[in-house]
């Protein structure tokens, strides 16, 4: 099972109960569990949304949309039932943090989702967990059953007269299902093909009812926000980026792991201090700062604040908080190839630019990496990727194209080094297998 790490610079809010047995409901109660939902019932819908807005919490699933604002879009009156859907599909390469929340603090997700439901006037919560995370689904099934047994879910919760049901749901292997409209399709028993928007889920979602969709970490943050107050939570982070995030640090760092850092923390420090620097005394070549979908940064671009706005200004994204570190012995072309092969595999095939674009990019990069490239391929690869941007049915096409454009723009020389039938300059390097043996 995934081991926990820690660093003195961490600010433990969401991870506060990790390693303390909080999957057990009695232990969770000892650690202030289910207090926030009672506070939410006192505050009422507007009171909760005001606290959320004050917290400046932004979605931890990738897009960084302000959570309070998202909840305020749900119509007060609705002929159809309203729903809250927790996104636990966690499949963005480089991201392994929701997993720890489900394992160590499943009730915080339940409680956060319940608060979201009270805020939007919903009586049904669904917690969707990816199929590969079977042990976490089992933890969640037990947590939900325990919460019912205590009378925290179901009819008349905490004597408030409010009825609130919580259900689990499992996936069966699909990255695309993490996209919110595909997630709803999957929950309706269908292929995870995205829906056209508008209408947005807040208006027409699950089974046609207004639906709030939030990432598991977003929801796990909510009880803490209500207990400490939105304003205090906001102060942990930086302007318009409240609180902390769970950063999954991976690749060539000395101490990979999931660390909870305040928003606004320095990327350089995350790599060199929290992560202990580049493994095996090598140098940094590049970092993919927000999961596989975002453009990379070069070593001279890492003096940057880890918040949604600063990252966008630098031409990349904070995304899912997956920080993938590449050392100087890594072949960028190979890395780009493996990235696009993933998107090719995961494209649902519904729209042509994504289905064909990922396939062509994958074929071109494969041939290119094998030494079969010609000079004009480099621009063709970039051109092909650029033409996918904004032209696909859902953002998976953008997620596939953006990193590739970044690699070509920032590491053109490396692409050129593969030209004219030259073998990959990195292929024989023992770096990879050595690393595996060291650990």
């Amino acid at each position: 099972m995934a081991n926990l790490v820690s660093h003195p610079d961490e600010v433990k809010v969401v991870t506060k109960r990790f390693g303390q047995g909080a999957a057990n409901i009695d232990r969770y109660l000892e650690l202030d569990g289910y207090k926030a939902v009672q506070k939410a019932l006192e505050l009422g819908a507007d009171g909760i949304i005001n606290e959320m807005k004050a917290s400046s919490l932004r979605g931890r699933g990738g897009a960084g949309f302000p959570t309070g604002m998202k909840w305020s879009f749900v119509p007060k009156e609705s002929a159809k039932p309203k729903y809250v859907l927790c996104n636990g599909d966690e499949s963005e390469p480089g991201t392994c943090k929701d997993r720890l929340i489900f394992e160590h603090d499943p009730h915080s997700v339940i409680e956060g989702a319940m608060i979201a439901a009270i805020a939007v006037g919903s009586h049904d919560v669904y917690i969707y967990i990816r199929g590969e995370y079977r042990y976490l689904l089992e933890i969640m099934q037990k947590a939900i059953a325990d919460a019912y047994a205590k009378g925290f879910c179901g009819k008349n919760i905490f004597g408030s007269g409010y009825d609130l049901n919580v259900y689990w749901h499992g996936g069966a292997g699909a990255y695309e299902v993490g996209e919110e409209s595909a997630l709803m399709e999957s929950l309706e028993g269908k292929r995870g093909v995205p829906r056209i928007r508008p209408p947005f889920p807040a208006v027409v979602g699950l089974w046609g009812g207004p639906t709030v969709i939030n990432n598991a970490e977003t929801l796990a943050s909510v009880p803490h926000i209500l207990l400490m107050g939105g304003k205090q939570y906001a102060e942990i982070g930086v302007d318009r980026n409240g609180g902390t995030r769970l950063f999954s640090l991976s690749g060539h760092v000395e101490r990979p792991g999931v660390y909870e850092l305040p928003l606004g923390y320095s990327l350089r420090k995350a790599i060199y201090e929290v992560g202990g620097g580049i493994a095996n005394g090598r140098a940094l070549k590049a970092v993919v700062p927000g999961g596989s979908s975002v453009p990379c940064l070069k070593p001279d671009e890492i003096d940057i604040s880890l918040d949604f706005d600063s990252m966008m200004k630098a031409g990349t994204f904070l995304g899912s908080g997956g920080i993938v570190v590449l050392d100087d012995q890594t072949c960028i072309v190979k890395f780009a190839l493996r990235t696009i092969q993933f998107y090719r595999h995961e494209s649902c095939g519904w729209c042509i630019p994504c289905r064909e674009g990922t396939d062509w990019l994958s074929k071109s990069l494969k041939r290119f990496h094998a030494g079969g490239g010609v000079a004009k391929d480099i621009d063709n690869i970039r051109y092909l990727a650029e033409n996918m941007l904004g032209r696909t049915f859902c953002p998976l096409g953008d997620a596939a194209a953006m990193p590739i454009i970044g690699f070509v723009n920032k590491f053109r020389k490396e692409f050129e080094a593969h030209l004219d039938g030259k073998p990959c300059p990195y292929e024989k390097h023992p770096a990879l297998s050595q690393l595996a043996v060291v650990r």
């Binding site: 749901h169 792991g257 595999h345």
Partner: protein, 162 residues
């Protein structure tokens, strides 16, 4: 066809989760696969009858989800991640090692004795503990070739004892 008592109980419980019964399809298909080793023709027919959707619709759903299969795998399906974070820490070598050790040449191939199958998979959410693999639903992380050998031995022993 008959589901086991356990699967039948799962079905009845899940029916109470949703306003539309078809909604249980994706997770229930996986539970069905766990019982029979794969999603069998009979199971598809049975679900088609119960959920009042065509067998073709169910097959369409099955083909979308990477964990679902309509052919048997090994008793222990060894799923090695080679996605980016695992790639950086030797995921390809781990896959090659598992294939070589088990003498499985093709992706999703099954060993002659049916005990193992080996599959190359996309990110399984173990990026910070790469390279990683899952054997059925169990995670195995921070892999080395030696560690893989030990893990496979344990499963081999388990299979022999059953």
């Amino acid at each position: 066809m008959k589901f086991s008592e356990q699967l039948e109980a799962r079905y009845s419980d899940m029916l109470t989760h949703y306003p539309v019964k078809r909604s249980l399809l994706v997770p229930f298909l996986l539970y069905t696969q766990d019982e029979f080793g794969y999603v069998t023709d009979d199971a598809i027919e049975e679900l088609s009858r119960r959920l009042e959707i065509t067998a073709l619709e169910i097959r369409n759903v099955i083909s979308y989800y990477s964990m679902l299969r309509t052919k048997p795998g090994g008793r222990y399906n060894v799923q090695v991640c080679t996605n980016i974070c695992c790639l950086l820490r030797g995921g390809e070598e781990m896959l090659a090692h598992a294939r070589k050790t088990l003498d499985v040449a093709v992706n999703k191939g099954v060993t002659a004795d049916g005990v193992f199958s080996v599959e190359e998979v996309e990110c399984i959410g173990a990026c910070s503990w790469a390279p990683a693999m899952q054997v059925n639903y169990d995670f195995h992380e921070n892999l080395t070739p030696e560690k893989i050998d030990r893990i496979l031995d344990e499963y081999r022993l388990k299979a022999a004892q059953q």
